[in-house]
């Protein structure tokens, strides 16, 4: 029987720890355990056999720590170590079968055991998602080829890394995939995910079983298990440590004995685990006791929880009776400023739109970055990765371009929402496979080749057709959310009625969750928010599960919170009261602000962004020329602050607050210029980067902000930037000044390498450098043109070059 045939049908047993057993057998500190697959194969095989004889069904090959990064320092390749590891499990299984003829019906499987790479993924960390994927891919191809029966991804604690591993497994083998993660006692992954959020993601990606291992003992896992059984529709695997680590004589040990361990594991099985084993500190003796105690137990049947859920890296959002708010603002349709931001590749603009919506109460953010003249797949990837780095909400990838869909979904850290598919054959054929692969909750528009039906029945028919077709692709109803479609009531007086009735029947007859782009109802009418809010309330009352709306619209959100209070989904009206009091505070705050209106230079010197913006708008309204504002108000004010900073009369926070205020002023100027069809003038391009190997970004970002204020066009290449990338940018964009930042002595060498590469290629650009360990002497030594000891130094230098006409 295959592993998959038994999984979830009968209790199955993993093996236990490997590391401690190897140490007992002489593995030294500094020695890589996996090299023993080749150096001491008999020892490894015997451990596998001990576990099999103790009753384990699955023996994990000694491949946990194998990866390309680790193999760099070894004499063996990934393939060699993995192949040897799998071979030993298979030999152990064959020998046990042969030697114990009585127990030949005991199912035994060779497991390709994959652990964490041990490096954090970008954007916070060092390696890219694709690098992580490739690293796992290499292991999986080798393990599959060597004949593994299943893949165990274990002791992982970063949902993004887990996703890379699962995709690598799914795309490069047909083996069953089991994922067990390391949670802390509060049920959190190290990167912030919780049980519900990763479960949603993993079910979406189509893994075969999910569970916990390492980190905790069986007792602690008992407390955590209900969180998993509550949301998980797959068989549950639990491989605990033999207790929490305790330090004895300075060494870490695990001290739960086999009997006590087995008793606890028995309770875990009673609570819903169907595959159990052990991790750190557990031995064949532990597993033997577990098998003795639990071998005859019935397991709880695996039930589909029928949850419609999306997740971000750190939390899950469920569709339920209480409607959700999907923020609609990250979308260029009808917004000239947004379109311009996309053309300018102004990601900050997009991020701020996202953050505002998060603050205003959105639960999910729609992300649409489609413009005919841009590379949408590329921008979608950037937007998704950028937004999820700083915003906690789940995202709805919104595009009609299937390449952009795939890119957005692939790099998304969680279980995404996808907008959208419709009832056209072509749409279903292209979108369903992508949605299935990445486990997206898919928005289905009730239209097809014949257009948008004018009747309720017509729309329901299309909905049913999509449900049926989705099922053929393996997409369950719970992953479909129907959009009943809204046509403006100004062109057809029955339009709202049709939508509402369709909504009601989809929700209560077909049993699907629903979504609507609510504000479409009022196109062509004055005072649209009046109609919108009324319609929104009616729609929610007719079964709307999620409204795609503007969370910054107070009337809409008021309708939303009121609705929740009225249907009894707001405990003691707490949320309603909290929001109502927030709104009440606002006018008062605005009034205070009005009374103390400042001039632009005062606002910048004091570092007050809103006042600076207002003051600039006022100057522009008085027809003051943009250049005059910049040269006679803004720059002199910045100079005052900069001088104060250099004389140590003002300090970094003040300098930066002024920088932010100046930035706000520039926004007003830019908006005004673009109204006149002009662009702001640049004093010259500067490339800025934190060098390869270095991940500390803030110094570079401070310098960038200040230089921008002084009118330089900044090309920010980010952190950990390869010298080649810097060279290419300088060449292609004909840049005359490069700013490099490095924090540590270990990365200053890459600063030197970058400068050398620029010089070798005959580029005469100037290079300025800065960072914690640098000194003038050091800067001279590595061939920099200028050493900036603080952020203002770089401004002075750039201005000098500009004045000399060298930029």
């Amino acid at each position: 029987m295959n592993f998959k045939d038994l999984l979830g049908k009968q209790i199955l047993f993993f093996d236990g720890g490997m590391g401690t057993l190897l140490q007992e057998r002489g593995l030294q500190t500094g020695e890589i355990p996996e090299t023993w697959n080749i150096l001491h194969p008999e020892v490894i095989k015997q451990i596998h056999k001990d576990y099999l004889l103790a009753g384990s069904n699955m023996v994990s090959a000694n491949t946990f720590g194998v990866n390309a990064f680790k193999c760099k320092t070894l004499d063996y390749t990934v393939e060699e170590l993995v192949t040897a590891g799998i071979r030993l499990t298979k030999e152990a299984i064959a020998e046990v079968k042969k030697e114990n003829t009585a127990e030949t019906d005991h199912p035994m499987y060779a497991v390709l055991d994959i652990g964490s790479i041990g490096k954090l993924l970008k954007p916070l960390g060092e390696i890219s998602f694709d690098q992580a994927y490739d690293t796992f891919r290499e292991i999986i191809i080798a393990g599959d080829k060597a004949g593994a029966d299943l893949i165990l991804i274990e002791t992982v604690s970063d949902s993004y890394e887990i996703k890379a591993a699962v995709l690598a497994a799914k795309e490069n083998s047909c083996l069953p995939v089991v994922v067990t993660m390391i949670f802390d006692e509060n049920g959190k992954l190290l990167t912030g995910g919780d049980v519900a959020s990763v479960t949603a993601m993993l079910e979406g990606l189509g893994v075969d079983a999910i569970g916990f291992n390492c980190g905790l003992g069986p007792e602690q896992m008992k407390k955590l298990l209900p969180q998993l059984t509550e949301c998980c529709s797959l068989p549950i695997v639990i491989n605990p440590n033999a207790g929490l680590p305790v330090v004895v004589n300075g060494q870490t040990v695990f001290d739960v004995e086999p009997d006590a361990f087995a008793e606890s594991v028995k309770m875990l099985v009673e609570m819903g685990a169907s595959v159990v084993g052990g991790c750190c500190g557990t031995t064949p003796a532990h597993i033997r006791k577990v098998v003795e105690l639990c071998g005859k137990m019935d397991i709880a049947p695996v039930m589909d929880k029928e949850l419609t859920v999306v997740s971000s890296y750190n939390h899950a959002v469920y569709f339920s009776r209480k409607p959700l708010i999907i923020g609609e603002r990250i979308n260029p349709t009808g917004k000239s400023k947004f379109k311009q931001a996309l053309r300018d590749h102004d990601m900050e603009y997009i991020y701020k739109e996202g953050l505002t919506q998060e603050e205003n109460g959105a639960h999910i953010l729609d992300v649409n970055v489609g413009l005919p003249e841009i590379d949408e797949p590329q921008l979608m990837e950037e937007a998704v990765t950028g937004i999820q780095a700083i915003i906690d909400l789940p995202l709805q990838i919104d595009t009609s371009d299937t390449d952009a869909m795939e890119r957005g979904l692939r790099y998304y850290n969680g279980k995404p929402m996808l907008n959208s598919v419709n009832g056209k054959k072509e749409s279903m054929e292209s979108v369903f496979p992508i949605a299935k692969k990445y486990g997206a909750v898919l928005v289905c528009l009730c239209l097809d080749e014949s257009g948008i039906p004018e009747t309720v029945e017509g729309r329901l028919n299309i909905a049913e057709k999509m449900i049926k077709t989705a099922a053929e692709y393996g997409i369950p109803k719970k992953n479909l959310v129907m959009d009943a479609l809204v046509l403006t009531v100004s062109t057809g007086q029955d339009n709202a009625n049709i939508t509402l009735k369709t909504l009601h029947r989809i929700r209560y007859e077909l049993g699907l969750h629903t979504v609507l782009g609510v504000s479409n109802i009022s196109f062509g009418l004055p005072e649209r928010s009046r109609i919108n809010t009324a319609f929104f309330t009616m729609a929610m009352n007719n079964g709307l599960s999620a409204g795609i709306v503007n969370p910054s619209s107070e009337p809409m959100m008021a309708a939303y919170y009121s609705f929740n209070a009225l249907i009894g989904e707001d405990d003691q009206c707490m949320e309603y009261i909290a929001k109502a009091s927030q709104t009440a505070d606002k006018p008062a705050a605005a009034a205070v602000f009005q009374s103390g209106a400042l001039t632009l230079d005062e606002a910048i010197i004091k570092g007050l962004s809103e006042s600076a913006y207002e003051a600039t708008v006022k100057l522009l309204e008085q027809n003051t020329d943009s250049l005059t504002i910049i040269n006679e108000k803004l720059i002199p004010a910045l100079d005052v602050v900069g001088k104060g900073f250099e004389e140590k009369k003002m300090f970094l926070p003040q300098l930066l607050m002024s920088a932010d205020a100046a930035k706000a002023s520039f926004e007003a100027i830019k908006a005004n210029l673009s109204k006149q069809g002009k662009n702001s003038e640049s004093k010259g391009k500067i490339v800025i980067a934190t060098v390869k190997g270095d991940i500390h970004d803030i110094g570079k970002n401070i310098v960038k902000t200040l230089l921008e204020n002084y009118g330089f066009e900044m090309i920010d290449l980010g952190k950990d930037v390869d010298p080649e990338v810097i060279l290419k940018t300088v060449q292609e964009q004909n840049v005359r000044l490069v700013g490099l930042s490095a924090l540590m002595t270990t990365t200053v060498v890459n600063m030197e390498a970058t400068i050398k590469l620029l010089r070798e290629n005959g580029l005469h650009c100037k290079v300025m450098v800065g960072g914690a360990v640098l000194t003038q002497e050091y800067a001279d030594m590595i061939g920099a043109d200028f050493y900036s000891k603080d952020a203002m130094g770089s401004v002075r230098y750039a201005n000098e070059l500009h004045d000399k006409g060298e930029l």
């Binding site: 500190t29 916070l124 300075g250 700083i390 300090f651 970094l652 003040q654 190997g693 924090l743 000194t775």
Partner: protein, 229 residues
């Protein structure tokens, strides 16, 4: 060892934050003060501090330090040897505030660079406070039979002549990645960034145990140097 976030909050030295921000011994204006207080509050709420440590017997020569506990680890460094010369025991400690501090920083680098700079400084003060609490507790736990032990200043890879390469040994020995989610890059930087690995000497000699780490640093031009050295 569990330390409550509220306890860390109590121990954050706001004067250190101001020093990191360039104020020296001066005090910022009310606005920066208020902002700093808010950020400390926020940071102390979101961080997920974790630590792992082991305790060793220690012996030193002039230029090396040998730690033993079942197995033996040795480090070549005159400065480290001087730091722990009178110590019978040495603690290897790894502590991190977790990824949350980096997340917060990343967010504000986009939103508000002034706040980001303050978060950076508060994060540094926060991990210092956390390490201070940890080392005191470890020291107290080691002080048995009426024999009080005293702490030498923490000493980390990269200080003086102790190379950053020592990180590799510490990471493997303490299983930092698996136990507390701390990772080491190829260029030997730590992720999450608000993290510390350190040697902490424990000595029966109470003398000279409150030495600032600026003592062994060669960069005498450093803006943040404690002026008494």
């Amino acid at each position: 060892m569990n330390v409550a976030n509220s306890e860390i909050r109590e121990r954050i030295n706001v004067r250190e934050v101001y020093r990191y921000l360039g104020y020296g011994t001066g005090t910022p204006d009310e606005r920066v003060k208020t902002l700093t207080e808010c950020i400390i509050e926020n940071l102390a709420n979101v961080v997920k501090p974790r630590n792992i440590y082991k305790i060793y017997d220690c012996s030193t020569t002039e230029s090396s330090v040998i730690l033993t506990s079942g197995k033996t680890l040795s480090f070549e460094s005159r400065n480290l040897a001087a730091n722990v010369a009178q110590c019978t025991r040495v603690v290897l400690l790894a502590a991190t505030l977790g990824i949350e501090a980096d997340k917060l920083l990343q967010k504000y680098e986009v939103l508000n660079i002034a706040k980001a700079a303050i978060i950076q400084a508060c994060g540094a003060a926060c991990i210092e406070a956390y390490c201070n609490i940890l080392q005191e507790r470890i020291c107290n736990a080691c002080s048995v039979d009426g024999k009080r032990l005293y702490l030498r200043p923490r000493f980390s890879p990269g200080y003086g002549d102790l190379p950053l390469q020592a990180q590799k040994i510490i990471f493997e020995e303490l299983e930092c990645t698996k136990r507390i989610g701390l990772t080491l890059t190829d260029s030997l930087l730590m992720y999450p960034t608000k993290s510390v690995t350190a040697f902490i000497g424990l000595t029966a000699n109470p003398q000279g145990c409150h030495i600032n780490k600026c003592e062994i640093c060669e960069n005498t031009e450093c803006e943040f140097r404690n002026s008494s050295f």
